[in-house]
Amino acid sequence: MYNDRPIPRIDPRRPYVIGPSGLKRIVLGESVGSREPLLAGHAHSQQKPQRSAGPFAKRSLVVIHTDRGALDEAARETLAAAAIMASADTEVLVVLFGAQAEALGDAAALAGADRVLCVEDPGYAPERKLALLAQLWKQEAPQQVCFPDRGADADLGRRFACRQRLAMASDVIEVVAGHEVRRLAPGGRFAVRDIPPVLLLARKVADARLPFRGAGVAMPDLKLPVAQERIRDLGSRSCPASQLALEEADLIVSAGNGVQDTAGLRQLAETMGAAVGASRVAVDDGRFTRDKQVGATGKTVQASAYLAFGISGAVQHLQGIKECRHVIAVNLDASAPIVKRADLTLVEDCQALIAALNKLLAAERSARPVTENTR
């Protein structure tokens, strides 16, 4: 049959956006986007809508100890939970210990905060922090105070609830907004109660990817009020990495099949104060003991920085480093799967790079006055 319909013509320069993998995406019927490859960079990092424009009658308070001034995943989830629970006339006010407003940028707003109060963090100072929270509790009269249930926040949250004699729920893993909270009690049961004023939220309580953002009004940075501490902080130290279980280490130097120079790697770990990990191939080869294996059948690690030398990044290995914040890869192959996961990739021979790093660190050490090393 002869088709008399006009031939559908495809515009070869239809608008497109660049996806996260760097590929061009053409969406039919879409008129936004770019025709110019050079302008296409971030066509889709468009502003998210604001959750609520106010005016705010009520308040919900979130208290977070930042991780070196940044929000980690637990903090983001707690903020997201508070923002999702908040009604349109409820403002999410976040107190960030150890953060600075200018360094933080709009990270808190993107995580859902409407008002941000950055406070210095002098280390262990429960009484002074409690004094600040008591002051905020009175001034702002929040409906709810949320803490992530981990580390310093877990400690402060429990102290706050007991000091103010407020009902609280810890390890909350499920919130039915406006109704009840749920936690896992020993024996595999759920414990349920109606929402108390103080909430300590466990990981995965909320999905941190929000379709909205908070107003993110920054308040001037604050110093803690003066209060008599009953506990003296005598300072902290970090354990030598060699004595530390891999799961506990903060910095890990990990070796894969590409590393032949294990002595150099061990020396590097020693000078950096890092723990040593390995991929399964390196362990099977007998270069490392089984307890060093990272991955699905090895250990799951939570380091802030994970240095992967000569590791291809098989899924089984990547499973073990899911929780690592910064991954740095050294590999000869710029298309190895680890490169997708890594925040920084150096395309280089491991042996050469390890040697260079060792030399660099040794040179810095000898150039420095000796007094600095005796901390």
Partner: protein, 257 residues
């Protein structure tokens, strides 16, 4: 070593075994007991206390681990026991708890409540406890291999981390010799928790999205949540790349040298 006549109270609670569901000892409470035995020196100055509805057999593990007598304050299950326990241990100078119980609520809250009731400072997550004159010094467990030393004047409440001290080995002879002493039952206010069978996954809070289907599709294919590949450095010799690596670590404050 330790000051003479230091009165120590150790709080223990039976845990629910995660597999068998039977009552057993909890590693953190066992560690607290082992520390208490060491610091008190003699058993007269050590009180091992439990409040609740558990049977004597559930506490036998602690007898086997060195407690010569466990004092039980019988209350209803799930009662608000903090004020009752606080009244019992009001004269103790050092109160040792586990960081978290393996039974009941297991919310790591009781030591904080006790500290507030007793108006004593609370030293959390101790790996070691030392008595120096009238004060207590602990080494606190922090994640990522950090340790912190904290000190406070007696009386104090200390929560003991399960890695602090290995418990005394289980001894059947000690278990037979030890006794469980029951006090008069007391009534207490019930806690506000209800129980539901577990076994399902918890549902996370997810923000309701007002976006249209088309917008969500766009978000899924081009949104910023999909992690983009980081920086890839190909140029330069090994020394330059080593410098890039060090600079990255320092810029993100991941190392302190």
């Amino acid at each position: 070593m330790s000051t003479p006549m230091l009165k120590v109270a150790v709080l223990v609670a039976p845990a629910i075994h995660p597999v068998s569901g039977r009552p057993c000892t909890h590693p953190a409470d066992s560690a607290a007991l082992a520390l208490g035995l060491k610091l008190a020196g003699s058993s007269e100055r050590l009180t091992v206390l439990y409040a609740g509805a558990a049977a004597d057999e559930a506490l036998a593990g602690y007898l086997a681990q060195g407690a010569s007598c466990v004092t039980v304050l019988p209350t209803a299950e799930d009662a608000d026991i903090a004020p009752l326990l606080a009244a019992q241990i009001a004269d103790a100078e050092l109160v040792l708890c586990g960081t978290r119980a393996g039974g009941g609520q297991g919310s790591a809250l009781l030591p904080y409540q006790l500290a507030e009731e007793l108006e004593a400072p609370l030293l959390p997550d101790a790996l070691s406890v030392a008595i120096k004159g009238g004060s207590v010094e602990i080494e606190q467990f922090l994640p990522k291999g950090q340790r912190r030393s904290l000190a406070a004047a007696l009386p104090v409440v200390v929560t003991v981390h399960e890695r602090a001290t290995p418990a005394l080995p289980y001894s059947h002879a000690r278990k037979e010799a030890g006794k469980v002493r029951r006090l008069m039952p007391v009534a207490a206010k019930a806690a506000e928790w209800r129980y539901e069978p577990g076994g399902r996954r918890a549902r996370p809070l997810v923000a309701a999205s007002r976006a249209s289907g088309h917008e969500r599709m766009l978000g899924a294919i081009a949104a910023d949540d999909g992690k983009t590949t980081g920086l890839v450095v190909k140029q330069g010799d090994p020394v330059e790349k080593a410098q890039v690596l060090l600079d990255y670590l320092r810029d993100h404050q991941l190392v302190d040298f």
